[in-house]
Symmetry: C2
Subunit: 259 residues, 2 copies
């Protein structure tokens, strides 16, 4: 009796990510946690053909209402062995962080990991708003004038504020983390989340970030390369599963970068 | 030997909230959870005189770096009996929700509670951005033109999208929650968080919300009054501890409301 389910466990990963296809987007924060731990998962919208269907189905569900993707479905972990359906990026990270050992080693670590991941996600949102400061549903071109003002504020005020904060966090944890980790002495989902935001910002604002890097040596000389050199992440980042930036959160409009 | 600490437990509450004084702000989401459970706490910046000092000290700390308030300090719950310092609103809610019994009754509930609280906080952020779409550090008057556009989008597109989502959540949980609770059959921090956002939106956009209420009967006829009638919350909301809205997240600028 146990053979079929054991077989199923080997061939069907319990984790299914539901996120808009062809883009890293907010789904990427979930992918990085799964990839860093070499955890099998199905990226359901990025099959042989890009498929928006699973996102639309999830958003229209009347039993597990979700406001926006990403969602994570976990086979067998819901009530009475049903599928557990999680949504909201920080919520999914929290769940996977605990399950996959990316929430820190000591009991109290998980609160710091969660706080820093939430802060990195706040910066992610601000990066998005540089090109869409007025309305999601309007084209960039229809809010370009406002985007120029917003991007100037984010580049000149917000980015340095976030970077100097994270530099201080790395410094405060330098004894354990050696500048490579925000919390404790090993990789957490706060690290993977911040890493992706830093990567995206370099795509969106290459000149601005290049000019600011020297002010944050732990962040850019130690932390950033350490995360991308992690064994599984290195392999993932070189693979086709790592999707290119496009018309998502991090966009390169040269006019929004430092001139 | 146990008398002094028992005495201390009675006279010094373990919870200290650190948030800008005189405003509900993001500190209010934390206050509501503490108040709903009649949990003693010290609102350190709102003593006899408003005091910004504890916020500034917390933001400048090199041992527990925090990007922004609110923070929650919990005596004795950190490593080796030290103070535990939590920051990021959703992180504090998650911690208190579990400690104080506001994270749902069943094991899986906590993920839904967290997701809905995060979604209500997203709406809270969008409400803030209606009057500060370009930069936090500029006055409203210096971004008023952009604020008029942003507020129109939030009022006409975003608010209905969020309201219809939460109406669907209440409907999906109607059997257990009777329209009074987003998850399960009793109050959670998702309920208190959403309630405050609805309260704030009615302060900021009274005409807009009044016009839209009839479209969301569970949300406004059942859920909203049920939360504010909860025994402890009712007493709190009538007290001086409930601070008036001012120059915070929810501001009433008549020109940003429906005309």
């Amino acid at each position: 009796m146990s053979e079929p389910s054991a077989k199923k466990a080997r061939t069907t990963p319990p984790y299914t990510l539901v996120y808009w296809p062809t883009l890293p987007g907010r789904g990427e924060f979930v992918r990085l946690v799964l990839e860093a731990t070499a955890t099998p998962y199905t990226d359901i919208c990025n099959g042989p053909k890009p498929d928006h269907g699973p996102v639309m189905d999830a958003l229209n569900s009347d039993t597990n209402p979700a406001f926006a993707p990403p969602l994570l479905k976990v086979a067998g972990e819901g009530k009475d062995g049903a599928e557990l359906v999680l949504y909201q990026t920080p919520n999914i990270l929290l769940y996977l962080g605990e399950k996959l050992g990316l929430a820190g080693s000591e009991e109290g670590d998980k609160w710091a990991v969660n706080a820093y991941a939430l802060t990195a996600l706040d910066l992610n949102n601000e990066a998005h708003d540089t090109h869409h400061p007025i309305a999601n549903i309007l084209y960039y071109e229809d809010q370009k004038e406002e985007a120029l003002k917003k991007a100037k504020n984010v580049r000149e005020i917000r980015i340095p504020k976030f970077f100097s904060f994270f530099e201080r966090v790395l410094k405060s944890n330098e004894k354990a983390g050696q500048g490579k980790h925000l919390v404790g002495e090993k990789l957490t989902y706060a690290d993977t989340t911040l890493w992706h935001v830093l990567n995206g910002l370099q795509h969106a604002f290459p000149k601005e970030i290049e000019a600011r890097k020297p002010d944050y040596p732990l962040l850019f000389d130690t932390f950033y390369p350490a995360v991308e050199e992690q064994e599984h992440l290195k392999r993932y980042l070189a693979s086709e599963r790592r999707l290119p930036y496009g018309q998502g959160i991090f966009r390169h409009y040269p006019e929004l970068d430092r001139q």
